[in-house]
């Protein structure tokens, strides 16, 4: 299969309208409106063949960036291979880095876009059809608070499907068969934000995440147009209650500010007028519905265009803005490079996006083949967001951590999937690092390694017993703040223990002796290369030596075979994962 035909297929698939999109009659009316608008704008209406041909160009451009003789080449070595896998996947073990190096850059990038990946329909989605759907009192409660009350009353039923989806999704990340797609799904979840807290419906959350996942590497238009129709978004930003007489601006504002253009690229009047255009976008029984009765068919002016605009036309206008490609290029570059990109770099990539139908997959192919992506200021200097860090640790430790464990650890560390903190999603970079999260990251690694008891964390024996006497009041009182820890305690109470054999792995890798074992642990468990003179390896080796002597193991070579060997190697692994160096990728 050639490069281009392969991308055609990927693209064609991702083009498929999301599960929650049209099909019903109400939808046909808005689609025909939308079609006529497109036709009148002299844009050939997007039929499948047209898209396929543009997709060929996308594929060709992407291919040329990776293979063209004129393009500057990325020096392909272990450093750069690990960098690619840190940023485009969920990190790599030494062996996986070796494979990537042997494969070469082009093939390593290609492997991130599995051609025959089925965009698997998880069994989880079948949950939508369970009897639960038939009797969902919470869907009858039309408003947010009603939903939330329904949520707390029905929590077991409502949350369990989401937990099953979460387990499945985390396992997809850990297996990393299609890691870039899973990563981009997290990215879009933090971009096109909805939170189950406000949505109050697990099925709608799952449908939205499945939609984002299906289209994670496709074109931005499909995402932007489709996400506004997902019942989760309609509920989260209240567009399901946006009616002609008194429009609700919530969706229109965030569509421009956070989803497509960025602050400063629209006016307050654009928002007010756009909100009118989206009146009538609502949902019924879990399906998008265009309610003509409450739609404002009057004339509007949005982003410099006047007419009887409807929601899809406003989406078109947003997509046409110069600012849209610039906004998305800047956000993607920042996400993957770990710091804001220069104006020149943003413009370069924005131009590329415009020339390629805002195709996200093409953008990422180009980025990963760009020598600038591998420059010193980028490599190893990005703070790993909690989910990436946790999944990366599980992968490097070869630990099959339960999905619920990773999800709840994410909560403790400030990244609770399905519950983004605000419509802006999660703050990147140093915002992840606070005095508390630096302790918690170490403790979460300790739990993964079987070294830390969560109950011991919740009860502060050192101080609570002295002062309170009875129960640990703070922990008990602040239930919502302790949610993640309580869930983790529950997982440990069920008898979960990590199945790890670090000592055996070290032995197989011939990492014998304090210094070599320390080097092996650093190489295997850190996403970044630590300079030889940084002292990191030396301090790990010194730690090993101390632990070894305390256990009465005199000979370095005896450690791995000693009964205490596994425990000591795990404590050393805990040491490594607690280091500031471990927080970067």
């Amino acid at each position: 299969m050639t490069e281009s035909s392969r991308s055609v297929e990927t693209l064609g698939r991702s083009r498929g309208l999301p599960c929650v999109l049209p099909g019903d009659q109400a939808n046909m009316s808005i689609r025909s409106l939308y079609f006529s608008w497109r036709a009148s704008a002299c844009l050939a209406f997007a039929s499948v063949p047209v898209l396929a041909s543009s997709a060929c160009e996308v594929g060709a451009v992407a291919a040329s960036t990776t293979t063209s003789a004129q393009a500057p080449l990325v020096e392909w070595n272990r450093r750069n291979a690990e960098h690619l896998l840190n940023r485009a996947a969920f990190g790599a073990t030494d062996a996986e880095v070796d494979v990537a190096v042997a494969r070469g850059l082009a093939a390593s990038i290609e492997a991130l876009f599995p051609a025959d990946a089925k965009v698997p329909r998880p069994e989880i989605l079948g949950l939508r059809d369970l009897p639960l759907d038939l009797e969902r009192p919470e869907t009858r409660l039309r408003n947010v608070e009603g939903r939330r009350e329904g949520l707390s009353r029905l929590q077991p039923d409502l949350i369990s499907p989401l937990n099953m989806w979460g387990d499945w999704w985390i396992e997809r990340m850990r297996q990393s068969e299609d890691p870039l797609r899973e990563r981009m799904t997290i990215f879009w979840h933090g971009h096109f934000v909805s939170s189950v807290k406000e949505v109050g419906n697990a099925h709608e959350m799952i449908e939205q995440l499945a939609f984002l996942r299906d289209n994670a590497l496709g074109d931005f238009e499909t995402l932007l147009r489709g996400v506004g129709r997902t019942p989760a978004m309609l509920a989260y930003l209240n567009n399901d209650e946006n009616v002609k007489e008194h429009p609700n601006e919530n969706w229109a504002r965030e569509l421009f500010e956070l989803f497509s253009l960025g602050d400063g690229n629209y006016t307050e009047d654009d928002i007010k007028q756009a909100a009118r255009a989206f009146t009538g976008w609502t949902d019924k029984e879990g399906r998008f519905l265009f309610d003509r009765i409450v739609h404002d068919f009057g004339a509007k002016q949005v982003l410099g265009r006047a007419g009887a605009l409807d929601g899809d036309m406003v989406v078109d206008l947003a997509l046409e803005q110069e600012a849209c490609a610039r906004f998305m290029a800047a956000k993607l570059l920042h996400h993957f490079e770990g710091a804001p990109a220069s104006i020149e770099r943003v413009e370069e990539y924005a131009a590329f996006l415009r020339a390629n139908d805002l195709h996200i997959g093409a953008f990422l192919r180009r980025l990963f083949a760009d020598p600038a992506f591998y420059r010193d200021e980028v490599v190893g200097r990005r703070v790993a967001p909690p989910i990436e860090w946790l999944v990366g640790n599980a992968r490097r430790l070869d630990l099959s951590a339960p999905g619920q464990m990773v999800l709840n650890m994410g909560d403790v560390l400030g990244q609770r999937l399905f519950w983004p903190p605000s419509v802006k999603g999660w703050e990147p970079d140093m915002a992840w690092i606070t005095t508390a999260t630096m302790m918690y990251r170490s403790n979460m690694a300790g739990i993964m390694l079987g070294l830390v008891s969560v109950q011991g964390l919740i009860r502060d024996a050192e101080f609570d017993e002295r002062s309170m006497g009875d129960e640990p009041m703070m922990a008990a009182a602040k239930k919502s703040r302790s949610n993640g820890l309580n869930q983790l305690a529950y997982i440990q109470d069920t008898g979960w223990k990590p199945e790890l054999s670090l000592a055996a792995r070290a032995k197989a890798a011939l990492a014998v002796g304090d210094a070599r074992l320390a080097a092996w642990l650093c190489g295997e468990l850190l996403a970044i290369e630590v300079p030889l003179d940084s002292g990191v390896r030396g301090s790990v080796a010194a730690f090993l030596a101390r632990e070894r002597r305390e256990a009465g193991i005199e000979m370095e070579t005896q450690l791995l075979a000693h009964p205490e060997g596994e425990a000591i190697v795990r404590r050393a692994a805990h040491f490594v994962l607690s280091l500031p160096e471990s927080q970067l990728n």
Partner: protein, 413 residues
């Protein structure tokens, strides 16, 4: 693997071992110690002096509807614009013949009656921005250019107030994520959601001590992470001890804000050396179903503030706490069809606590003179910051705010 859980037990002298091993790291270890030593000295000095003045910064995040908080109950224009979410005149706790408190603000009202609540009406800024995030940045930095202007206003304040003691946790935020107002390129900031788990388990603190001290690499993110680790290490025990040993004189509400305020009270009255404590009350973005949601928020806010004030009043350090309450914007005057309100502009700010002299300041924005449905602000919010800086903390406001702002007069007792 239970023996792993208990691993530290059979090594009681672990700390001693690490200290012994620290000769390997020589100077770097001493660097870590000197920071600790300084913070200890600071604590001793403070114990001798009168309790320092402190500020509790309470942010109502999401855009508090000022018109539902201090209700212009006698204004027909208010009732006309708020047919869905408005408060009937008879439910309002009257302040005067124009305005009154939301019915849930019973504690605020009694503070007002005691002359301990200053209300500054119509606070905002020129060219109001309706984005939560841009507007929060403006409030957090006190600059229209937001984050591009550098540190947060509290971060700048620390640089002025404590030029020497950069490692002492003068700034503490209780909550999961740090507001930008406390952002500082030079000074330690402590951030925690709850005290008991605020520590390293399984020997992690020893590990962290080593992680916190390496050869400096200026500009590298590792350098920033290491400084956070040092601050974490220096504050872990002190924070937990202060919270655990604290005996509140009243029972705080069980919700997050109530519990955060209890933690704030504990830490502010401890010997940690906290100058600015920050707490966030989330959930004010009431685009839909505002009546129920905002009522509940007002109830939580009032309960938490009431408990805090009752708890700290009369203690030497408690009487040295001023509370500043703010939100990134008010909400649109006309309500929307989903029983909510969209993003607006001006809103009231509040000052409370023993140091405060109660009264009404600023000017209520006219409901007859709107810009696209929004109130026109009457008072720049930086004038309230200026009052806190000049009048309470004794720092010339231009040194923190970049330009001189006229403080609101008459807000201090």
């Amino acid at each position: 693997m239970d023996h792993l859980h208990q691993a530290p037990k059979h090594r009681p002298d672990r700390r001693g071992v690490i200290v012994g091993g620290a000769t390997i790291f020589g100077g770097m270890w001493l660097f870590g110690r000197s920071a600790l030593a300084r913070s200890t000295r600071e604590v001793v000095e403070q114990a001798k002096d009168a309790p320092p003045k402190a500020l509790l910064l309470l942010e109502l995040s999401g855009g508090n509807d000022g018109l539902s908080c201090i209700v212009p109950w006698a204004d027909d224009l208010y009732h006309g614009a708020r047919g869905r979410v408005g408060h009937k005149a008879e439910t309002v706790k009257k302040i005067d013949d124009y305005r009154g408190f939301h019915f849930a603000l019973a504690n605020m009202q009694s503070q007002w009656n005691e002359g301990k609540l200053a209300i500054v009406e119509g606070c905002g800024y020129d060219n109001p921005n309706h984005s939560h995030f841009t507007s929060q940045d403006i409030w957090h930095t006190a600059r229209h250019t937001g984050r591009a202007s550098g540190d947060g206003w509290i971060g700048r304040l620390m640089a002025e107030m404590h030029p020497q003691d950069k490692e002492v946790p003068h700034m503490v935020h209780v909550g999961q994520s740090l507001p930008y107002s406390l952002k500082s390129g030079s000074h330690a900031v402590v951030c925690l959601d709850q005290p008991p788990p605020y520590r390293w388990a399984a020997g992690g603190e020893d590990i962290a001590r080593e992680g916190g001290m390496r050869r400096p690499e200026p500009g590298h993110p590792l350098e920033q992470i290491r400084s956070v680790v040092r601050n974490a290490q220096a504050s872990s025990s002190a924070i937990r001890r202060a919270a655990a040993e604290y005996k509140p004189r009243v029972e705080y509400p069980k919700h997050d804000l109530g519990q955060d305020m209890q933690t704030a009270a504990a830490l502010l009255q401890s010997r940690l050396g906290v100058t600015v404590m920050s707490v966030t009350h989330n959930g004010y973005d009431t685009h839909a179903n505002q009546v129920y949601r905002h009522d509940k928020l007002m109830q939580e806010l009032d309960g938490a503030l009431g408990a805090f004030l009752a708890d700290v009043r009369g203690t030497p350090s408690g009487d040295n706490i001023a509370i500043l309450v703010f939100s990134e914007f008010g909400r649109r005057v006309p309500d929307n069809a989903s029983m909510g309100t969209d993003h607006g502009t001006a809103g009231p700010m509040f000052l409370l606590g023993s140091p405060v002299k109660g009264g009404l300041h600023g000017k209520h924005p006219s409901l007859a003179d709107l810009v696209d449905g929004d109130l026109k602000h009457t008072t720049d919010f930086r004038r309230v910051y200026a009052s806190v800086l000049d009048g309470w903390l004794g720092v010339p406001n231009e040194r923190v705010l970049g330009a001189r702002h006229e403080p609101i007069a008459g807000v201090w007792a």
